[in-house]
Amino acid sequence: MVNEQEIEIVAKLMKIEIDDHKEYIDKVHAMIDYFDILDNAGVQDEEISMKDIPLSNLREDKHIPYEDKLIERLNNYKGTYVRAPKMI
């Protein structure tokens, strides 16, 4: 079970604002409760690994300037800076 306070903390972490708390929380609850099924899978001893590729497959260290004037395609810019809200 997951309580409302925990969900509030997570919403803040993810920069998500919720108006209708009850509806969201009920649905999120239902989803998370469903995930509890993972406890029965018996996989505690598994070690994590992933596919690997050799070092030689990687990109060569070369400077290639990007031709497009990207900054002009973005929002919120001033001069050539990107504008962000003030930080406290």
């Binding site: 997570v10 604002e17 989803m31 469903y34 993972l38 899978a41 994590i48 406290i88």
Partner: protein, 471 residues
């Protein structure tokens, strides 16, 4: 394409007819979010090239629709979200460049569940798409618009994306072919990420051969995507009619268990007979981890989505919302209110399940389930050439029917997420119509066996003659 190449019809003619069809039917179907106003012009250019004897790409002006989470340069790419309502992609996805080089024509961008999160296209911020077999029914998702556009003759083929069944599911619901390749076969550069460790772009077409043709155009190693693999320039059309004589096929029993629709079960049994008639040996097999695959899938994808969608803070691109007067945290939270309800729910899930406070309980366990599932399926592929199951355990359902029950909706995915979690290729072949609604049969193959998989799909397809879609 041969017709166009031979000069029997012109690309312009064909594309014009296609646009005409779109204009006729799309108001009801809503497969498209945008239609390319230059499509006919582009076709004209290709006709010129053909006439002048210049080299023309293998697509010869083939009209293709593209799911709106794949970037086309200078085109709006919205992911069916209000967050990206004005985002104009400054570059082409690799699959787009490849198709452009081969003289394909993009007729438009198709509808999807917002950011590809969903199974029915009902979560699009711009309204759902409708199933051409019955307008009151969902077309499946998240690549709903793509499947509809192919099924309704609004294009010859489409590119969708498949994270947990998002190409195969709508293909099954709309009676067309949907293919998810081995992970890494098709470059994801330019595909707007939802769950990058398991998703792939996949072609949707009316026939298996068309699907293989598109695959030939877009598969292969891409330096822009470090996760792509070398397919040694395979020709997926070559030998596609080889058949499946003597092949061993496993029927995944966890995917035909309780909860399966009787019509779907009966179709599956018919498919098994067909496979046997083609000379294959079929027997039931068990993939134990399937029970946990949906929980694992949604845990992993919520985590990855939570991270992949973090960049949408409206500072660099997005919609018009000036930063003046706001403080950083409140601006971002306010800006992200433009996410639809399903995406919002997944963001919260995605913050919750990998959090250090619950270390080991959710995310880590999900990863371990993913790994064990992969080991189990690898074991099966030592004995069997293919595995099969119905693509979706239920028939297409009405729009609005399952939208309020998230867990019921999750379980529609139970037969498809395995292929994504394990990286194996899988295809949905349209097999039967039951009460006017399509049922698709899914075939899985081992990693890098995409060519054989297409052969098996072609073999099954050859035993089937479906009625025309009623539009």
């Amino acid at each position: 394409m041969q017709e166009v190449q031979n000069g029997n019809i012109s690309a312009e003619d064909y594309v014009s007819k296609t646009i005409e069809q779109i204009n006729n039917v799309d108001e009801n179907l809503h497969a498209f979010l945008q239609i390319n106003s230059e499509a006919i012009d582009n076709a004209r250019q290709i006709d010129k090239k053909i006439k002048s004897g210049k080299n023309v790409g293998a697509c010869f002006g083939m009209p293709i629709s593209i799911k709106d989470n794949i970037c086309i340069k200078d085109s709006k790419t919205t992911c069916a979200s209000n967050m990206l309502e004005n985002f104009i992609a400054p570059y082409d996805a690799t699959v787009i460049s490849k198709l452009k080089q081969q003289d394909a024509i993009f007729v438009g961008k198709t509808n999807l569940d917002e950011f590809a999160m969903g199974l029915t296209t009902e979560f699009s911020a711009f309204g759902p798409s409708r199933n051409p077999w019955n307008l009151d029914y969902v077309p499946g998702g998240s690549s709903g618009g793509s499947a509809v556009s192919v099924s309704a003759f609004e294009c010859l083929a489409s590119l969708g994306s498949d994270t947990g069944g998002s190409v195969r599911n709508p293909a099954s619901f709309c009676g067309v072919v949907g293919f998810k390749p081995t992970y890494g076969l098709i470059s994801r550069f330019g595909l707007i990420s939802y769950a990058n460790s398991i998703e792939q772009i996949g072609p949707i077409a009316r026939t298996v051969k068309d699907t293989a043709f598109i695959l030939n155009m877009i598969a292969g190693l891409d330096p822009n995507d470090n996760t792509t693999i070398d397919n040694s320039n395979q020709d997926y059309l070559l030998g596609i009619d080889s058949g499946i004589e003597g092949k061993k096929i496993g029927i995944i029993k966890e995917m035909i268990g309780e909860g399966i629709d009787s019509a779907v079960m009966s179709a599956t049994k018919n498919a098994i007979s067909k496979f046997q008639g083609l000379g294959a040996v079929c027997e039931e097999v068990s993939l134990d981890m399937v029970k946990y695959s949906v929980a694992a899938y949604y845990t992993i994808t919520a985590t990855e989505a939570g991270s992949n969608l973090a960049r949408y803070d409206n500072l660099r691109y997005g919609y018009d919302f000036p930063v003046e007067g706001y403080e950083f945290n409140s601006y971002i939270s306010k800006a992200r209110r433009k996410f639809g309800p399903e995406v919002t729910r997944r963001m919260i899930l995605g913050g919750f399940v990998p959090s250090s406070g619950h270390a080991g309980k959710y995310f880590l366990k999900a990863l371990k389930v993913k790994q064990k599932l992969t080991q189990e399926i690898d074991q099966l592929f030592k004995k069997y050439d293919f595995l099969i199951a119905p693509t979706v355990p239920v028939l297409p359902f009405k729009i609005g029917e399952k939208i309020d029950d998230p867990v019921a909706l999750f379980l529609v995915d139970i037969n498809t997420v395995t292929a994504n979690l394990t990286g194996k290729p899988a295809i949905s072949v349209p097999f039967e119509i039951s009460n006017g609604l399509p049922i698709g049969i899914q075939i899985f193959a081992n990693s890098n066996d995409d060519k054989s998989l297409l052969q098996a799909a072609r073999a099954l397809e050859s035993t089937v003659k479906l009625p025309e879609v009623p539009i």
